[in-house]
């Protein structure tokens, strides 16, 4: 696993990023980000910098607040504390829709596809903001409609081809096998032309060979599309295999940050996952 490791260097402020991203604006910067539900601090003082083309991992035991962080980043929840910057831009007060338009795309833990529509149409919906047209040109089939349909079709097939899914374009999304549905969600997110892709448990329910393909695809996204990827995952083989920087959470707080090898030997992380020596004694 160690052979995969990218050299991580300190970024001018606090965090570390891959060496190649040093001169660039970090794609995502969370500053004291937090949310309280009533008195419960679901996420508390979350600081993170993700480099422009970094693959970052967010791990932690169940209920640590990982998906809540994603929901904060995509503004499903408005943070009660702190702020986040996307490519250096302030995002306070933006809605889910607006934050997607400035470049944050995501997939969901429980797949959320548009099941009644075809694979191609699902991708076209992702392309929505990059197509011209409105109600009237669609209703009366004005020339704009045909132009935009043609562009949508070409671009959708191009994206599907990137993930070897072009032959499935006319299937209903709901009829796809599980692994393909996960891939389609990634394609749909990429169609919005993001600068950072958030993947919520992309390998959940996949067999080892599908996971292997997924890892290659994620690397391909970074290498060919030059965008950053941040993923939540419980499959440590995947996380340690492709993530360059890893952030570990427990009880809503960040307990460790670093490269895969640093994380593997971090006592706080081991304690969070396996419990301390004293804990196990009490339970027995």
């Amino acid at each position: 696993m160690a052979k995969n490791e990218t050299k991580m260097v300190p970024f001018p402020s606090r965090a570390i990023v891959p060496e190649r991203d040093l001169g660039k604006t970090p794609v995502l910067e969370c500053i004291h980000l937090g949310i309280e539900f009533g008195g419960l601090k679901a996420v508390d003082d979350f600081n993170l910098i993700v480099g422009a083309t970094e693959i970052a991992g967010l791990i932690g035991p169940n209920g640590a607040g990982k998906t809540t962080v994603f929901n904060l980043l995509t503004k499903v929840y408005q943070p009660t504390h702190g702020t986040m910057l996307v490519q250096g831009r302030e995002t306070n007060g933006l809605s889910t829709t607006q934050v997607n338009r400035i470049g944050v795309a995501r997939t969901f833990q429980n797949i959320r596809l548009f099941n009644s529509q075809t694979v191609e149409e699902n991708v076209m919906i992702g392309l929505h903001n990059h197509l011209k047209g409105g109600l009237f040109s669609d209703m009366f089939r004005l020339p704009t409609y045909f132009k935009s349909e043609k562009k949508a079709h070409e671009r959708a097939l191009e994206l599907l081809d990137f993930f070897d899914m072009a032959d499935m374009a006319n299937y209903k999304a709901g009829s796809l096998p599980y692994g393909a549905q996960r891939r389609l969600e990634i394609v749909r997110a990429l169609a919005t032309d993001p600068c950072i892709l958030l993947l919520d448990e992309p390998a959940a329910g996949m067999n080892p060979s599908e996971t292997e393909d997924l890892m290659n695809n994620i690397r391909k996204i970074r290498d060919e599309l030059k965008i950053a990827v941040m993923l939540i995952e419980h499959d440590m083989k995947l996380v340690m295999g492709i993530c360059e920087g890893i952030c570990v959470m427990n009880y809503g707080k960040v307990i460790a940050k670093g490269t895969p090898s640093e994380i593997q030997s971090n006592p706080a992380v081991i304690e969070a996952y396996l419990g301390s020596h004293n804990d196990s004694k009490e339970e027995k």
Binding site: T97, Q98, S148, K172, S175
Partner: protein, 357 residues
């Protein structure tokens, strides 16, 4: 030649079928073959078919429930009637009056739709059903108190009685609870049919476009739609206003087929009747809704033969249709032989299929 897309093919099939049906009905009607009872129903059928398409856009394609669609129909009907009556001084051409009435009906119904939609469609949940239900009642009661007349100096309006209109030898158009009176009876079957074509074409075109994909996506999964940067409220409002405008056009066509029309005609029962068209025809299935509207408007007339048992039979027929459309075994009795006959003509639903195989 390039192979046509399945959706294009099914649309061409529908336009063809509509044209043939209309030509046959038109010839039969002019030849006096159709009985007077049914002949008088032809324009209301056109209006109800449009209503069915309109509600299908909201309920079937957008996935929001509207329980006051008759309210938009009545807004269209009354504004259309006022427009047509006011135009009588300007032109004698009935068709021109009708077209102007339909256009004005659409505009006012769209405004009503926007007023209802702007605050409500920002919320998630069944609030639209509750608010449209109230809207239908409010519009009915408002129109019960409207007195509108026209004379040489223009339109006069009052909410008290006809005397307070202060008109100079003018005519009363809307007379409170008596409804609109002395309506120019200008609706024609041809305009009604064209209206059906326009409504159907608009709906079918929207469904297979950038806008339509976004609307259907909202129905499928709202959270995912927001995550790809599509504004849910905007598209919900857009669809609802379009749907209301179509209802307004249908209302104007409907009202100008009679000499008098009361606000009571567009009550909750009418809203539910329109919803029954949509549900019976299959939610989201526009063509099914059109057929259901035709059948359910004609049915009570056909059942006049059984006199007292008319509404009882009507209920039995409704239940039978529901059984035959939802029970697989029962459906097999009718649908399978029909598919064998018309299999090549009727495009398959659910293109593609299972990718596992």
């Amino acid at each position: 030649m390039k192979k046509l897309k399945p959706t294009t093919r099914s649309n061409i099939f529908t336009y063809g079928a509509l044209l043939i049906i209309f030509t046959v009905v038109y010839i039969l009607n002019n030849g006096g073959v159709i009985s007077n009872n049914i002949s008088g129903l032809l324009i209301p059928i056109c209006a109800y078919v449009c209503m069915s398409i309109s509600l299908n856009l909201t309920v079937g394609i957008l996935g929001e429930l509207s329980l006051g669609h008759a309210g938009f129909m009545s807004v269209g009907a009354f504004s259309g009637v006022i427009a047509a009556s006011a135009l009588r001084n300007v032109t004698d051409n009935g068709t021109l009056q009708l077209i102007a009435a339909i256009a004005i009906g659409a505009v006012f119904a769209a405004i009503a739709g926007a007023i209802v939609g702007v605050p409500v469609l920002r919320l998630n949940g069944d609030y639209l059903a509750i608010v449209t239900l109230a809207f239908g009642e409010i519009i009915k009661n408002l129109l019960n108190n409207f007195y509108i007349g026209v004379d040489n100096s223009g339109l006069h309006f009052s909410m008290k009685d006809t005397a307070s209109l202060n008109m100079d030898k003018g005519t009363v158009i809307v007379n409170g609870p008596m409804g609109a009176v002395g309506i120019p009876k200008v609706s024609t079957l041809i305009v009604g049919f064209i209206l059906i074509l326009i409504c159907y074409a608009a709906t079918a075109n929207i469904t297979n476009s950038r806008t339509g994909r976004a609307i259907k996506a909202i129905r499928d999964n709202r959270i995912a739609v927001e995550s790809v940067g599509i504004s849910v409220a905007k598209y919900k409002l857009m669809t609802f206003v379009t749907s209301a405008a179509m209802a307004g056009m249908a209302g104007a066509l409907y009202a100008l087929n009679y000499t008098t029309i009361t606000p009571k005609k567009f009550d909750f029962n009418t809203s539910i009747l329109i919803l029954v068209f949509v549900v019976l025809g299959g939610i989201g299935n526009v063509r099914g809704g059109m057929i259901a509207a035709t059948v359910l408007v004609v049915l009570p007339e056909l059942l006049r033969a059984v006199k007292d048992y008319r509404m009882l039979m009507y209920a039995v027929v409704l239940i039978l249709v529901m059984i035959f459309t939802n029970n697989r075994k029962a459906r097999g009795l009718i649908i399978d032989p029909a598919k064998k006959l018309f299999g090549k003509l009727i495009p398959k639903r659910g293109k593609g299929g299972d990718a596992n195989g």
